[in-house]
Amino acid sequence: MIDLYETQRAMRQMRKAAMQRGVVAILDLGTAQTTCLILRFDGGHLPGNDGVGPLAGQSRFRVIGAATTRSRGMRFGEIDVMQETERALRTVVQAAQKMAQVRVDHAIACFSGAGPRSYGLAGQIDLAGDSVRESDIAAVLASCEVPDLGPDRTILHAQPVNFALDHRSGLTDPRGQVGNTLAADLHLLSVDAGVVRNLLHCVKRCDLELAGIASSAYASGISALVEDEQSIGAACIDMGGGTTGISIFMRGHMIYADSVRIGGAHVTSDISKGFGISLGLAEKIKCYHGGLVPTGRDDRDMIELTGETGDWEHDRREISRSELIGIMRPRVEETLEAVRERLDAAGFEALPSQKIVLTGGASQVPGLMGLAARMLGHQVRLGRPLRVQGLPQAATGPGFSAAVGLSMFAAHPQDEWWDFEIPAERYPGRSLRRAVKWLKENW
């Protein structure tokens, strides 16, 4: 635990340094595409009298560089071949730097894989009728019992989502209030430590300092869900290339995150296998002709398949669009079924709001709305990332919701466990703080 505290705290320090420099890179390492946004922070001054408010906190930064490239060496949202991933990262960072004309030294990254697992923790301390101070919050967070995460797992997010004082629950900030018992609910997200280590190493190899990491399902939820959905409760399904991320938001906090290891790349590989064509061509006809709901016209809508095998008959085939739909649909259905299972396992139907937002690059396939509405419930919509200042038109599609969400996360990070002081009792060894505390209590 202490180990992770230190890493995450170091990242927070790095983030502070990046804010001072005013320039930070946002890296979205996906399975299909790698995106880099370069943000410039203007010191947080808000426009005074022109009636423009803080705009959900986005007015503090501006996107000055954006680049995206095909991912290399990534599988299921995890780094598979590090050299290849590093090349993709270099390409995208260099292109974004060229657009921004500024050198960037700090990066905040998100990734979708690494088997995220959510835990809900609860902690409680006795206040003895005193008012709640910051140290009490740290103490109540520290009192949460951390479950056995399993071998080689690490904590990615640990966010307090709810505070309760005596019998009043649902407090967002209990500081200054008086009570006898302070209880806290903590959402903890654990991931494979090896994946995070690889990511750290890869970013370091690109001469960048990592100033924070986040789950891309969480980042997508920040940007694709509107504020009301975040507070009333909604699920964000980030349909990426190799994984489909799920995050459930409630009262402005993420309370659950998971991922399904099926994505758009599987659809492409199905098409490739089904028709015996190259992956590139499969990707192309998926993008141009793909769909999920067959109509009568699709039988007559022929798609030419080209190839370079040399076999004339094989290279000059034609398929109908309904055949293509026939291959794509089962895979998307399988994905959505898996998502449904995860949502059921998380108890999503018990939530007051059943809103589901589909985003991510794979959500652009035509007919997904109808299919998802049938499989996941009627309150489904397609989500695009929030518009942020300076974002190029090319980067406003649903495939960029994780990157945009990460930008907003960079500007306004959620308080995490490690943002509070470690209570003296939990501090290792003979620390000075412990001595000071002892002196304070006894003198």
């Binding site: 095909r70 993709a88 004309q101 050198r103 993008c287 794979a362 652009q364 599609g397």
Partner: protein
């Protein structure tokens, strides 16, 4: 996924290219390469070249050649000199002293030196020297006007109102209409002297001159060796008083050597020899009569 467009060739910058690119984007390196380094190279090159004696010679010879060509331009030629506001003698003298060889280039003309030289003349109060369009040097001179003749140990001089010497003269009758003043320190009190002379207008025929005494007061010398001694202050008033006395009692027509007005409350006279002998006789008679 549709937004993803696979590049035709799988381009990615190499690690070195990436690092060089980042280095180029760092501001200090950029300023150094784009400004400091070129400036240093150019400045160093010029300095190295200029430190060679041969190149210095070359620069100097080029400079001389360029200056010579400039000098020979017809537009820069000065062909003549005009002197305005000076008497013919002074003009001749100025031409002689300046000794300019026309035509000459305006670049060789030192107007400041000409001004200094011309101002050095006693008769010149102010000189305005400039080159006018068409290639002529114009000297506009304001001449000093002599108001008195001053006799001192070295001879006779003409002075203007400020006591500045206008010319040296050898003969008193060179300027007969000017009043004569004498003795050291006379040149410092010329306005007063002029006022006294103006006040002594009725005695014009008899006035020989004014003598400065001890650099503080004036004596008026009249024909017949008569002297009027004036006080330091109120000299004009004293002079008018003498004139009034003269009018009332023909003071100056008598055998009086000196009229001493130095103490304005008590004018004193010194008699001539004959008058004094007569006065003595008269006193003896008076004495004998009283006996």
């Amino acid at each position: 996924m549709c937004a993803m467009r696979a590049p035709r060739d799988d381009y990615a910058p190499s690690r070195i290219a990436y690092r060089v690119n980042r280095l180029w984007l760092s501001p200090i390196f950029r300023i150094t390469m784009l400004w400091l380094l070129p400036m240093g190279v150019i400045g160093g090159g010029i300095g190295l070249w200029a430190s060679q004696p041969g190149s210095q010679e070359l620069v100097r010879s080029i400079q001389v050649a360029v200056m010579a060509r400039m000098r020979d331009q017809p537009d820069f030629q000065v062909k003549q000199m005009a002197v305005k506001g000076a008497s013919p003698e002074l003009t001749r003298e100025i031409r002689r002293v300046l000794d300019l060889q026309f035509p000459m280039s305006v670049l060789d003309l030192d107007l400041d030196e000409i001004r200094v030289k011309v101002s050095a003349f006693d008769a010149v109060a102010h000189v305005d020297a400039h080159v006018v369009l068409g290639g002529a040097l114009m000297l506009e001179i304001t001449q000093r006007k002599p108001v008195v003749i001053w006799r001192n140990a070295r001879g006779l001089a003409l002075l203007d109102e400020e006591g500045h010497r206008v010319a040296v003269t050898e003969r008193r009758d060179g300027a007969p209409e000017l009043p004569l003043i004498a003795a050291a320190g006379a040149e410092d009190a010329i306005p007063e002297a002029l006022a006294i002379v103006a006040a002594a207008e009725p005695l014009k025929d008899r006035l020989r001159g004014l003598i400065r005494q001890g650099e503080r007061r004036w004596d008026v010398a009249l024909t017949g060796d008569q002297v009027i001694q004036l006080p330091e202050t109120g000299a004009v008033a004293a002079m008018e008083r003498v004139l009034a006395m003269d009018e009332a009692g023909d003071l100056l027509g008598r055998d009086i050597r000196v009229i001493d007005m130095r103490n304005p409350d008590r004018p004193t006279i010194r008699l001539g020899d004959e008058a004094f002998a007569y006065l003595k006789t008269l006193r003896g008679l008076e004495k004998g009569m009283s006996n």
